[in-house]
Symmetry: C2
Subunit: 278 residues, 2 copies
């Protein structure tokens, strides 16, 4: 997603010089050759040094290490922000590791996941019409917040400011749990002796339902662990609901099943389809 | 889906006269006005009388009643087929209720679900590249099987012949369980006090994952109950897997979680996207 941010900023003339770094040197070089970044740095510190804005685009489990690497290189006006899918852990790490830079750290989460990753799939219009949640702390500089939120609006996103804990609870429901459920379903089928036959007969409903199971395993492992408390609450409630469904199936309670499906259908039909069809 | 079959047959010149019946008279009339059917009958028996081919396009729970209604009207060469998502219950009902007509009953299941229903959404090309499973019995007339399978091939589908019990097990995995899981997730969120906020922040992943929760509640209630045995086995296994995930989250077992996600991702990436993007 870092590549898509770079492409979005470039397309709108919002960055005069973009310095990139990737742990995998070949990925970084592809981003440079593709024109997503102007300069490929050979360390996180070298990339961050003197930057007006530093954007941390790594799985949330890798944030603390990255923050340590850049903390000493930040200028007194450098703004730091991130793209992490969880916020409590990232904010806690920033408070601990960014030192004085924490006041200019603006936690952000663009809700625009995708299953394809790597610089080749960068999309300058990925954020059009999407929501970006920011979760600043009371001590976050108002100017830093304003600059980061303005940047996202310029990329076509709608910004929603929220409490850290509220963000993590909401996302546990509508993003982290669905990912976990999709991974689990495909893993269950893949582990069965007739997996090939089953997958060959899967229809469009299955493909839609499991599309997110093609996402990055490392990124979602980190998200699940980082948000394990809120996610655990949702998961437990969900397992209980499945237990009720199991019992309703066994006892043939058609009304209860239809009622559940009907409530779900009404709620789902109230969700607008995506503006640009993703 | 009955409307889509009618449209598909019509477009390919495979039916000279299509007689339709719908329990809801207004729906039947709309199908007639839209040109999907030539004649609107006022009872199932009147629609089936003298037909070369009778296609039963109702939720599986309504099949027995419909079979009773038409059994006495079938000619000695009439072929009967269906579009039901489960097969053991439909075949058992047909054996019990179609009398001599059971030998010319060809159970079929086009794997081409959609969330929008009604004659307005009929699509003559719905079956292009889709799989249609047939599950004939040993006593089913070879000629009847051939005619029904030829019809589906002419509509652009690929036909797979299977045992009844195998069909129901496979579909429990890749279709019935995912529907149930999607309905349950949306119902869970819809029942929470902050449902509106959560749904407003749902991204593309959530929309894909829950698209099938907009399907017909009555149809899927019937499917779940009709296939409750095979579905129960899959659901129990899935609940156990979620329990393991819950424990792995609690103990912070990153390797186990990543392993599960990685196996799922590999399997999911091996599933080809749909030929016509549905």
């Amino acid at each position: 997603m870092g590549g898509s941010v770079a492409a979005a900023l470039r397309k709108r003339g919002l960055a005069s010089c973009i310095v990139g770094y990737d742990r995998d040197a070949a990925t970084g070089e592809r981003a440079r050759v593709l024109g997503l970044i102007d300069v490929l740095a050979d360390s996180p510190g070298a990339a961050a040094r003197g930057a007006d804005l530093v954007m941390l685009a790594v799985p949330v489990g890798a944030m603390p290490g990255l923050m340590q690497d850049i903390a000493g290189t930040l200028g007194s006006t450098s703004i730091v922000t991130d793209l992490g899918s969880t916020k409590a852990d990232v904010v806690a790490a920033a408070a601990l590791l960014l030192g004085g830079g924490f006041d200019r750290f603006v936690p952000a989460h663009p809700i625009a996941g995708r299953e394809r990753f790597g610089p080749e799939h960068a999309d300058a219009d990925l954020f059009l019409g999407r929501v970006v949640v920011t979760t600043p702390s009371p001590q976050t500089s108002a100017d830093a917040i304003e600059q980061v939120e303005a940047l996202w609006r310029a990329c076509g996103a709608r910004v929603e400011r929220m409490e850290v804990s509220q963000h993590d609870r909401v996302l546990a429901s509508v993003s982290h749990l669905p990912h976990l459920l999709a991974f689990a379903l495909v893993a269950q089928i893949a582990g069965q002796p007739d997996a090939q036959l089953k997958l060959s007969l899967a229809g469009g409903g299955f493909r839609d339902f499991t599309r997110i199971a093609a996402s990055s395993a490392v990124m979602w492992r980190d998200v699940a662990l980082a948000n394990r408390e809120a996610l655990g609450v949702e998961l437990k409630a969900y397992r209980n609901l499945l237990g009720e469904l199991e019992r309703a199936l066994e006892s043939g309670d058609a009304d209860w099943i239809e009622g559940l499906f009907e409530r779900a259908g009404r709620a789902r039909r109230s969700v607008p389809e995506d503006a640009h069809g993703a």
